[in-house]
Symmetry: D2
Subunit: 358 residues, 4 copies
């Protein structure tokens, strides 16, 4: 099978590096262009990127020359699909421009997530939301987003509980510094400290899950009817967002049922055997003190950072408490969009030459 | 005024060191005996204690010889009052034995906290609970406990909200390693990590606040009627427990009222001007990213680690969210019991020669 | 005694904050002006400075309005002396301009340190070097620098060994992140890591000690004749540079003599009882695993971060090995320049109205 | 080829876990027995071992039952070779007993390293030292040790410089907490701190390299003639010992020659293509701020933690300075002994049924 030609926007940052790491030897995609900010344009990738993700910079990208992210930079390179790790501010118009030119864009940026025509797709959870791209009316081009990094973990903790009725959700986070970008958190602020504030984060956690778990009526998405109360903090951890979740359900449950709901959960990506799909998507931890960012998030584990880990399930009446862990720059960012593209390809939304809406 | 002769049990540990630090130049108490485990007995304090709390070991205790903690070790030394930093397991019978011999015991140990005759005293919050010691029927001897370290912060976040009606409380903690004792947390477990489990901690947070905020009818304490849902984690922080709290109230409030309730809160220790009482007891932080363990907990600040710091107050309907910070080994341990003893002295429950119940 | 009117340049950074902390209630100086970069000008100090040093921002500076650092900004305020925490790049011409207008400048910046007319003054070590300011020929104005932060510790480890003959020095550092400024080290680079490179640092350690320990012949300084081999690394520590030092001496010594040389070392600031002078200037640690950044550097200790701590003295033939610890932003920066100004004042080089060269 | 049956002693600790990780799917060895302390005997491996090394516990060892380490426990299991991760104290007699029964023992313990009949083998550096086992006179049994973890890095920095004449070596270390074992370093001692003392470590660094680089005359080893001055410190890093090395050579060199000496260095394990041999054994880093423990030590890199990384080469006259990095529990422990056994097998010192001395 011919591999689709992919461009990575914001390729030098942490999420961009993960896109590179995952796509450099991907069965369905090949890296055709690496785009970054003007400051990096014209430099070779090994000169422009300070590689900080696991392993070493793949040999086959080291000499690639960084180009611009505009349609006129990318279209001549025969790009079939775009993965965007741009900062939200820049992502807004660049992604629109590319989609307007017929290019499917899979984006980690927050710019378009709450756009009523743009899905926040997590194919294990709301695969039907992919259909929302028809409403974008851009010919073969469209924008599909992955959720905010914290949200990407939380919804795996909520979806299996939907049958019990979700009434409200209290979530408190322990977020890794990599979520703030390469130099986002100064060491003087976080060494031996916790910072109980992350700009904009609580708002995302309180709105995105309602859209993701919302009902797609074929035309628009109706938000799910529960409330989220989020409190977000940064901790001195490199990778992996840990979240303490307390859910009020519509009925009383027991811990065994909850555990079973999590461990038996699976989705279309698993059924389809998509390359990046973890199987199972939720790992229920049996050790009493797990999940922990330092254990089990290693890329040496079988899921390569794509599984969400849940542990310490406790039930009192209709309240379920647990901790969950998500690799913020993989399942919460680059890996999420790659999985979305894999899913879109299998569903006929991507093909060589140009994107396509079936 | 003659200073009362105090013994410190478990004097070599972290909480014991804080007792030493606070009491070595206290206006109402003098250190008459330092007791510790058999392993340390007979050694001088500077040999037995690996001093890790702020500043340097006070000169006037360095040469004191460690003695045993039993009545026969302490009574001959003319001890008027005992401060206990013993491990719970040992605290049970030793504290009982001492109280049985007529000695007032102010204890940080968990052993007797849930005993219906023993108050968990926080004089800003439940000063009347001191009266419960009459029910112990031990003559001049009695046991008064301070709360668990996490609880000691939480209840300052709850008491000012009582007028609005406390329905339920969800609390998630970020706890410092000093809370686990001198070698309690191995570096391999916590460097760059978060451990979402602390043995027994969630149970304490779910029960102690209901007793502390309970009604003392002159005879017994009736638990307060709200539920607590606690999730506890250890973070790579040296000192200071941060807590994310979400309270469901019996009515809708606005953030200004909540902030005012916290900042205007005060208590008897402040009115009495007790030496260890912080004034105000709650510091409401105005910076958007506070409170933080690394900022404001320094003993160079005016409250010497005794104030509870609250910030990031958010309100949605009848839900109030905020973060609070408590110095776990001072307000959450040694400082708390010293304040209790100061309060008991002023109230006539302590005097030279022996404890007294007025 | 009338207190001299002091301006602090670069007042919002970490070193600037230490200047503020030390000078806000100093017996010989009062803060007359706080200057910082254009970005901060016109703001009140509490708005412009993100206070991160120990304790809380002093009340008497919170409302001061930040001004510019040029002579026309400062001279109208009747400034008698300037303390500079400017970045080296800006310090060069601003300090020259101020000195040219007759103002004595005590600077932490590297810009003028290697100027043959400017002393790197450490009054315990080379008090006579103050006389070098006469050669600056600027009337009452002059520039006196303190050394680089690492150097400020190293020379206390060398000076007492001069009688044994200094042949060469190998020094390897463990440097705190505060040395790189407020946002100088990104958390992703240093959490759980060591970075064996600090731009320009090894050069400073290899040249400054030879000037500081050089001979002042009344006219110029002749460098001392030993070589320094420096290797510098950043470690995940907030404050305090630890240094491993191996000195080759001109003769064999024994460890007792070396220890005695360090512990008996004292200088003019101690004899004069200067307010900021630690006594003794070198603390020889007796515990086998000291000095440590986390222990003994607290401002609660008696020396307020001004003493250099030395431990683990080992001798093999004519090689002496030891570890030393210096508080990089106090003895290695702000405190050093304050001590220099105190010394200059007592020596008649500073007086109200204007600086003076006697 | 039949795989040799291997026993791992001390299998539950960190080094033991690395032995398990490396050997569970090794082409020449299979795990036949897992031995540990009495406390663990009889438990299954997954129950007894708190797995903390990268990845997840291999499936094929999870159910193995821990046995004792004595000959009567191991011999009935048909063990061909033993890998020892025992604490030195226990290693002494157990390893002797096993070797006495004809079993070849490859040991990470320090107990026998300085025994004149036991080689400290590093096959890239002193392959001929393997011949020293003939002098042990134990029939088919013998003991071969790997060096101390810090030494294992240092000698790779020294061997390539031998042609220039080694006169003396000053080494200062930044050592990871994993080197002290599972609970060896308490978090309260190392969070935000550096501890400049590791019991016994400096002595090992000052003696082992002289034996390893010594001359084997076919009968005994004559120590190499240079001096080592070592200073060792623990830093808050999980894995990887960084070392700052300054070597005085017998002649002046230039940096290019030194770099070339390191980068062209290779050895027998590379020529033989041994499974665990890194190729090249020394990676010379070109980035100005490398090597760093957090970058490049990941098991995702091609050398699986077996290469030594060298960077920041600086030369002044006949002094060469550089930093080197070694994975302390792999190249410095388990991986080193596995490589030794691979080398011994190819050289005919190991065969199924029993060890053999050719």
């Amino acid at each position: 099978v011919k591999r689709l030609r992919a461009a990575i926007l914001g390729a030098t940052g942490i999420v961009g590096q993960h896109f590179v790491r995952i796509l450099h030897d991907h069965p369905s995609f090949q890296i055709a262009a690496l785009a970054a900010s003007e400051r990096s344009e014209g430099y070779r990738y090994y000169e422009a990127a300070d590689w900080v993700v696991t392993g070493e910079m793949p040999l086959n990208v080291q000499e690639m020359v960084i180009c611009g992210a505009a349609p006129e930079d990318l279209l001549p390179r025969g790009v079939d699909v775009v993965f965007s790790a741009l900062p939200s501010k820049e992502a807004g118009h660049i992604e629109q421009a590319l989609a307007g030119e017929g290019v499917p864009v899979f984006s980690n940026a927050g710019a378009h997530r709450m756009d009523p025509h743009v899905p926040i797709l997590i194919p294990e959870i709301n695969p039907d939301h992919l259909g929302l791209v028809h409403s974008q009316d851009r010919g073969s081009g469209y924008i599909v987003t992955n959720s905010n990094c914290s949200t990407s973990g939380l919804v795996f903790g909520l979806k299996p509980l939907v049958p019990f009725g979700l009434r409200d959700v209290t979530v408190t986070t322990y977020q890794a510094v990599s979520g703030a970008g390469r130099r986002g958190v100064a060491s003087l602020d976080i060494l031996g400290n916790v910072v109980p504030y992350i700009s904009g984060e609580e708002g995302k956690l309180e709105t995105e899950p309602k859209k993701i778990l919302g009902h797609f009526n074929g035309d628009t998405i109706e938000d799910a009817g529960f409330e989220v109360y989020a409190s977000c903090a940064r901790v001195p951890v490199l990778d992996g967002h840990l979240e303490s979740v307390v859910v009020t359900l519509g009925q009383e449950v027991d811990a065994v049922s909850v555990r079973e709901a999590f461990s038996s959960f699976t989705g279309e990506p698993q059924a389809l055997g998509l390359p990046t799909a973890p199987n199972p998507p939720i790992v229920v931890e049996s050790q009493v003190d797990r999940p922990q960012p330092l254990r089990g998030l290693s890329l040496s584990t079988g899921d390569f950072g794509m599984a969400v880990r849940i542990g310490r399930i406790r039930v009192k009446g209709n309240r379920v408490s647990f901790f969950l862990l998500v690799h913020n720059t993989i399942r919460g960012a680059a890996g999420a969009s790659v999985l979305n593209a894999e899913f879109a390809r299998v569903k006929g939304y991507l093909r060589a030459g140009k994107g396509v809406i079936p």
